[in-house]
Symmetry: C2
Subunit: 170 residues, 2 copies
DNA sequence: CGATTTCGTAAGCATAGCATACAATTATGA
DNA sequence: TCATAATTGTATGCTATGCTTACGAAATCG
């Protein structure tokens, strides 16, 4: 009975949520120029990220992969024998964080570590059979997921959005 | 000597990261239309979110507040006696997640819970003195943070970006 | 050569999000 | 009106993520 909580858990109704009588006169921080919290770009990025991540999770429920995992698989496929550090840089992750993800992926036999011939500090990464299968599956899901995002935009807008976002993380 | 790791931990150099010789012929998933991973909007949202969050964390290092916490304080200030469930809906969070944050905030004496007169299931939330102070401080930091984001955009672009992001999470 | 840097690893901590379950309360409908 | 459903706050447990700090091995640089 508390089963399909997820569907409703976030924004169950589109109704105006805050039904308080008094609406507060903004007592404290009326010193600066910031008006409402929804004028903060980061605020919207966070919400958009949350919404995207949620839909992604739903789409990938059966596969049991996260955004990060898929990104890593994808990257390894595009660049076989890429090193962990490079993956971290590409995806802007800590070395430690990167390793945690690689560990999870390895534990599920989606990739294998191998010694690098060039640099004995490194360990090259390669997808296994299962990893390849998973990636192919994942690509299908990503396609579906991307569709869901793109319904909101024209092709031009989508390109523009990517360009704007790129300015933030590049 | 491993101290300022953070500065370098993510994208230490702007150099081309993947210095592998062979660049892989995209063997497996060449079935679909997806080209590179960087044509996926969600991918850029995630990276942008990460970059934003990282800078936010730096800016708020002394205050020790996270985005969520600040958002909650801000919301409570704008709507005194707002209920937890409403906050969750506004910020698109689970009830349980919302409570976790409220708990942390309460443990730091930034807000207090109080019984609601209208609905005895509810507990109204109000900022304490310390909460107000923290919010004022936070607003200063957010201002700085927002500046950092906005340097990349013209006023028009910023407005546009928000509008595009809003389509995703609204 | 020695000093520094890089890479992988590890352990520990905090945040965040989800599912699930329960009790109290309110709303709803037969 | 009364049984049933829905809402609210709470608690617990699990997972994913990200950071810090630390270490040893290997590479690089001066």
């Amino acid at each position: 009975m508390e089963a399909k909580q997820r569907q409703r858990s976030v924004n169950p109704a589109s109704a105006d949520c805050v039904n308080d009588a008094e609406v507060a006169p903004r007592s404290p921080g009326d010193d600066g120029g910031i008006g409402g919290i929804d004028e903060i770009i980061g605020f919207h990025i966070r919400l958009a990220h949350g919404a995207t991540y949620r839909h992604f999770t739903e789409t990938f429920a059966e596969l049991g992969l996260t955004q990060k995992m898929v990104s890593v698989l994808w990257l390894i496929n595009d660049h076989p024998h890429i090193a962990q550090a490079d993956i971290g840089r590409r995806l802007q992750m800590d070395r430690a964080t990167t390793m945690a993800i690689i560990n999870r992926l390895e534990a599920r036999d989606l990739l294998v570590r191998g010694a690098s011939t060039l640099d004995r500090r490194r360990q090259t990464l390669a997808l296994t059979e299962g990893g390849l299968d998973a990636l192919v599956e994942a690509r299908r899901c990503i396609d579906e997921h991307e569709q869901w995002v793109r319904t909101r935009f024209t092709k031009k807008e989508a390109t523009l959005l990517i360009e704007l976002l790129r300015r933030i993380h590049e």
